[in-house]
């Protein structure tokens, strides 16, 4: 076996994007059940800080893995994870434990999917989580 190289990092595009086009694109593309799931998940994340842990790994399966038609730079699952993030409650002592552990235990794909310019409403403390 080769020496472990640690998690792979991708170069990230600079700057931030507005989440509104992401939401608009997600309103067109995924199937109605996928859109319903995403809406319910946003509500759950807002109400229940531990929810992302159980939701993040399921996003690809629930929302689709293809390229977003309206925003071909984005994969559907990456966009969906990204719009789930702003619903997380802010926390003044660092990353919310749930978000940090979600990032910590996410596989490369879950990290990569969120590795995009960050919508401005994501609290600065969550940026670390969103960008990797």
């Amino acid at each position: 076996m080769n020496a472990p190289g640690g998690p792979q990092r991708e170069a990230l595009p600079a700057g931030r994007v507005d989440a509104a086009p992401l939401r608009a694109a997600l309103d067109q593309d995924p199937t109605p059940p996928a859109r319903r799931w995403l809406r319910e998940s946003q509500a759950r994340v807002a109400a229940e800080p531990a929810a992302p842990a159980g939701l993040f790994p399921a996003v690809g399966r629930r929302c689709g893995r293809g390229v977003l038609t309206a925003l071909p730079d984005w994969l559907t699952e990456g966009a969906a994870r990204t719009v789930l993030l702003p619903a997380l409650p802010p926390h003044d002592a660092g990353l919310p434990a749930e978000a940090a552990s979600c990032h910590h235990d996410g596989d490369a794909k879950e990290r990569r999917a969120a590795g995009r310019p960050v919508p401005p409403e994501i609290p600065p403390l969550l940026e670390h989580f969103a960008r990797r």
């Binding site: 792979q8 790994p57 399966r61 552990s101 596989d107």
Partner: protein, 286 residues
């Protein structure tokens, strides 16, 4: 002969095993989480174990042409260790992963209150996530353990068609046969159920809702005993179609209830990725 081994602990096996299994007809495996022999002392050990079950091990299996899925759970034995109780809190994240097709193995080991509590909590998680459940029946006091397991399953309200009671034998199969749960048989070398004994049970109970597995792990076990059981069935007069049902279509149906099972690799043979997150099973310079 095409085989899905519905219960095998590949983390404890070698690449020689993968090669021999593929040659014997194994195309897919489901690896439940279990006790590693050495007691774990923290939740973090489980996190890394689960990550390996959804990451490194599927990669390794694919190198040998085998699709790998897993079941995650706090196993019955370690449910008794207060240091591991926090595993129940982190399970939802792991149960949501794409390659996780069941909750398991859960059940009883020594029939303690802590085991019953973890068993019930994980049945609830299975219902919430819509996943099948793999229930380990204890090696000691198997009849009492099977009866107690069936009681907890019934009390949970889960559809019995989503539950397999595993490691059954000639005595306990009758307890499960009428319940709507699936009947799992682990075929071991030398002791417990061997291929001939499984064939006798199949003659009596038929092939419906039956799963046959090797349960191979770090102990005395043999990952090719699924194939040996198929051959024993043929020698005893079962048709090829019966063998295909028991060794392939039944486990595909059972774990397929998760909606996540992909029993065949998507890559054609020999084209599986050579690296997982930058690491490979090759030795020396690449």
């Amino acid at each position: 002969m095409r085989i899905l081994d519905p219960h095998i602990h590949m983390t404890s096996r070698t690449t020689d095993d993968y090669r021999a299994m593929r040659a014997a007809g194994v195309r897919c495996v489901v690896e439940p989480s279990f006790w590693l022999g050495q007691p774990r002392t923290s939740v973090g050990s489980f996190t890394d174990y689960f990550a390996s079950l959804v990451g490194w091990e599927p990669f390794r299996a694919a190198r040998f042409g085998i699709a790998h899925h897993c079941a995650v759970a706090l196993n019955p034995k370690e449910a008794n260790d207060p240091r591991c109780a926090g595993v129940l809190d982190i399970l939802p994240r792991w149960l949501a992963k794409d390659s996780v097709v069941a909750v398991g193995e859960i059940g009883f080991d020594s029939m303690t209150g802590a085991e019953a509590k973890a068993f019930t909590a994980q049945l609830e998680l299975a219902v919430a996530e819509g996943l099948p459940v793999l229930v380990h029946t204890p090696h000691r006091d198997k009849a009492a353990g099977t009866a107690a397991s069936l009681e907890l399953v019934a009390a949970s309200g889960i559809d019995p068609g989503l539950v397999v009671l595993d490691h059954l034998n000639e005595v306990t199969v009758g307890q499960v046969a009428g319940t709507g749960c699936w009947m799992g048989f682990s075929v071991y070398p030398d002791t417990k159920m061997d291929p001939a004994r499984v064939v006798r049970v199949l003659r009596e109970y038929g092939t419906e809702r039956v799963l046959v597995n090797s349960a191979a792990d770090w102990g005395h076990s043999d990952p090719l005993l699924t194939r040996a059981t198929g051959e024993a069935m043929l020698a005893a007069g079962f048709a090829e179609d019966d063998v295909d049902r028991v060794l392939w279509r039944n486990p595909v149906e059972f774990y397929g209830q998760s909606g996540r099972l992909r029993p065949l690799l998507e890559e054609p043979d020999g084209t599986a990725p050579a690296e997982h997150e930058g690491n490979s099973i090759a030795r020396g310079p690449r």
